[in-house]
């Protein structure tokens, strides 16, 4: 692997950039692997990297039906934060945040993790109660998060409208300064390059048609577009397509896949210094390194794999943004797109073992998958390598839907009164 640095860049620049090598090879499948990971997004590629690096398991293949990083990794609004309410969630996401902090150096790939701060706006008394609860809980968990008055919100994010006459006036906000954004593609590419350098095979454009189980019920491999690949262990990390893949192993999942839309504006000079989320009006916004305003919305109401969404939801999202930031009505939308997010009944992920021996699953991240990437990858690798969950992902089992021990981040934000 060619080391990336200002020096190597300069050296190559003088040489017409002729010396750069491919960042990962285009691998063809071998007959057998110790571990096959289904899904070459940030989570799957990262898991392969940590399997190789931390557990010495290098006979690993990451298989994807399309190009690597082409699912939700390359389609999200790149927000990274860990100020979740429940201890289980806050600890999991904070673990990811710790890894984000050093990820560029770890991978020798600049993922442009930008600690711009994520500000979550409170628009009514219930929001205030809820975010104060977040702030207090996060503080005692050692997770960065603090309360800002509406004037402090305005000072932190000048385009914000804090007029009391707004339809949903701002009453304050919770700010996690350590949170921010990163360059999504770079995360997938950085993990792919680093994993490949440790011997992992990345097999693109190769759909996994089924997970095959042996006579004793344990996993024996996967049927793919390029034939059967034997595997001692299989980890499914396929986001919106998880239900379909798991179904082939005879496991039905508590998941539904919904379209999630996002959009960017034309690029402009720096105007928006942070990330702002408003759950009440259902919108979030930041500005990319390129200068585009990056805006996300809620999910469409129906399940879908079409990666397409409707116009009404986008109209509502843009209107919500312009309600909170009225200076943006003359900005123009450059493009919008859709992803497929897999959602669990309690809006928290499933990351762990399954009833099938040798089969592991990482799914249900809903709209929170990107921010979890290094954490989920790290914990999935641990779980696969040791055949038992790490304490941080131990609560995120499939069994919780039987026992009732849900981690209900959505319900915690329930509308009151």
């Amino acid at each position: 692997m060619t080391h990336f640095s200002a020096f190597s860049l300069l050296k190559q620049a003088l040489n017409g950039h002729k010396g750069w090598r491919e960042q990962w090879p285009d691998s063809q499948p071998k007959a057998e692997y110790d571990v096959v990971i289904v899904g070459a997004g940030g989570h799957g590629l990262g898991a392969a990297y940590y399997l190789a690096k931390e557990h010495g398991i290098t006979n690993v293949a990451v298989i994807d039906k399309g190009w690597l990083g082409g699912g939700n990794t390359g389609r999200n609004t790149t927000i990274i934060r860990s100020n979740y309410l429940y201890d289980e969630s806050a600890k999991l996401y904070d673990h990811a945040l710790d890894l984000w902090d050093n990820l560029s150096q770890e991978l020798n790939y600049n993922v442009m993790y930008s600690k711009r701060g994520v500000l979550m706006l409170a628009h009514n008394v219930h929001d205030v109660q809820s975010f104060q609860r977040h702030v207090n809980s996060n503080r005692l968990n050692g997770v960065d998060n603090r309360w800002l008055t509406k004037e402090e919100c305005k000072a932190f994010c000048p385009p914000l409208n804090i007029s009391p006459d707004a339809r949903y006036p701002v009453m304050g906000g919770a700010l996690q300064m350590r949170a921010g954004t990163a360059r999504h593609d770079a995360v997938a590419w950085g993990y792919a390059r680093a994993a490949a350098a440790r011997g992992v095979d990345i097999i693109q454009n190769c759909a996994v048609n089924a997970i095959r189980r042996g006579p004793d019920g344990a996993v024996i491999g996967v049927d793919t577009a390029k034939g059967f690949i034997r595997a001692k262990k299989v980890a499914v990390s396929a986001a919106g397509n998880t239900s379909v893949v798991m179904d082939s192993a005879g496991l039905r999942m508590p998941l539904e896949s919904f379209p999630l839309q996002a959009l960017v504006s034309e690029p402009v000079k720096p105007i928006f210094p942070c990330v702002v989320m408003s759950n009440t009006v259902h919108a979030y916004i930041s500005q990319s390194d390129k200068g585009e305003l990056v805006i996300g919305s809620g999910t469409d109401q129906y399940t879908s794999y079409s990666q397409r969404g409707g116009l009404p939801l986008i109209e509502h999202t843009v209107a919500a943004i312009c309600e909170v930031f009225p200076i943006f009505t003359r900005m123009r939308m450059l493009r919008k797109w859709g992803g497929i997010v897999d959602v669990t009944p309690d809006r928290s992920a499933i990351l762990g073992k399954t009833p099938v021996k040798g089969l592991y699953v990482n799914c249900g991240w809903g709209t929170g998958g990107f921010k979890a990437t290094p954490g989920a990858a790290h914990l999935l690798a641990h779980t696969v390598a040791r055949d038992e969950p790490h304490p941080l992902n131990a609560p995120f089992t499939l069994e919780r839907f039987t026992t009732g021990r849900l981690i209900d981040e959505a319900a915690a934000a329930a509308v009151a009164h």
């Binding site: 379909v244 129906y302 399940t303």
Partner: protein, 97 residues
């Protein structure tokens, strides 16, 4: 924005007049107390999440009625809609096209 046929109103109307109501043909057990924890979980949470033709429920806000639909989740195209309580429509070749 989808166009949806309400089998009660016998009219095809825009999606804004409807709300999605989850997978269809998951009947509430007659005697929940007789179910094991696993069986109850299956009823509560396990969903087909089909990629392709999907049996699902919608509610027409206008008439207030819940009804069933068979919709392809890849194209988002409705293959058919039918009244609540009617038997699951077969996946005919025509419908699956």
């Amino acid at each position: 924005m989808l166009l949806i046929h309400c089998p009660y109103c016998e009219d095809t109307l825009p999606e804004l007049e409807f709300t999605y109501a989850g997978e269809a043909h998951i009947a509430r057990p007659a005697d929940p107390s007789a179910l094991s924890d696993d069986e109850w979980r299956d009823f509560l949470f396990i969903r087909t999440n089909a990629r392709g033709p999907h049996y699902e429920r919608w509610r027409h806000i206008g008439c207030g009625r819940f009804f069933n639909a068979l919709r392809d989740t890849v194209s988002d195209r409705f293959l058919t809609t039918y009244k609540a309580g009617e038997a699951r429509r077969p996946l005919t070749n025509e419908a699956a096209e």
